[in-house]
Amino acid sequence: MEDKLDIGGRKIDSRLFMGTGKFADYRLIPKVIKASKAQVVTVALRRVDFGTPEENMLTYLPSDIILMPNTSGARNAAEAIRIARIAREAGCGNWVKIEVVSDQKYLMPDNFETVKAIEVLVKEGFVVLPYMSPDLMAAKRMAEAGAAAIMPLGAPIGTNRGLKTRELIQILISEINLPIIVDAGIGRPSEAAEAMELGAAAVLVNTAVATADNPVLMAEAFGLAVEAGRKAFLSGPGSTQHLAEASSPLTGFLRNEESAKP
């Protein structure tokens, strides 16, 4: 059965998107990508640091990867738009993860500014994937503005706390006719599987992999979990109930009881 994720007309096999931040060494990144089977990876933009020359991280990425530059560092729509344009000029393609954060404690995204940025960037031909706080009305505005997917947070960035916003994400999955990609907060493969079982179209992880003792093994675990969760969703899980229902016949031959049916 073909089950591809369609984002802005692009068909993708892997439903695990991988962030590239926080890895101890760039050399881990290609191994992590390979182990996770991710086809979409995020990158960021920063001012050149004259003091410490850095390697070109793009050389560590497979040539067929889809780059999704983020607008991390933007505190309002105008800054996010500026970063998106620079990223495209830098050869990152036309995908962009809008990330507008002005709250420094919980790093919660600003849905209002994000909508404004989407409106402008979609008109300029970008495929826009907004990172957002899971709110139905905000997600509707983002969809109307032309977002290609909606990326609600599971928990604040980098916390590894899991699917704390589960109920709200479920509402988005049910009501928004776009891929819902859970971004931020997922700390364990079981939580990624949970998001996929709920009907999320994909998950984006970074910290959970980058901060594991063995990032490559964790990347593989996430890949498997996302695949398992997706298959579980597609298979249509059975309903839950309070009372037990035997999976094997309870009437038997050990006691002198009458069988239910001859």
Binding site: G19, T20, G21, K22, F23, Y26, I29, T42, V43, A44, L45, R46, R47, V48, F50, P53, E54, N56, M57, L58, P69, N70, S72, R82, R85, I86, A87, E89, A90, C92, I157, G158, A184, L204, N206, T207
Partner: protein, 66 residues
Amino acid sequence: MQVKINGALAELPDNCSVKELVLARKLPADVVIIELNGEIINRGKWDSVKLNPQDSLELIRIISGG
């Protein structure tokens, strides 16, 4: 002449082009993106665009991120 590079004042020779700046600072030309007074300078124009006193430059590059 004095210009601003990434928010800090810097001294450059008069009539310096964007390309000359990139070479002088030994910047990784293949990955650096240059914004001059808020406008992105296309790589192909680095040679022809000359800097003026008080210009504000942003030199940006791609790094890892989530």
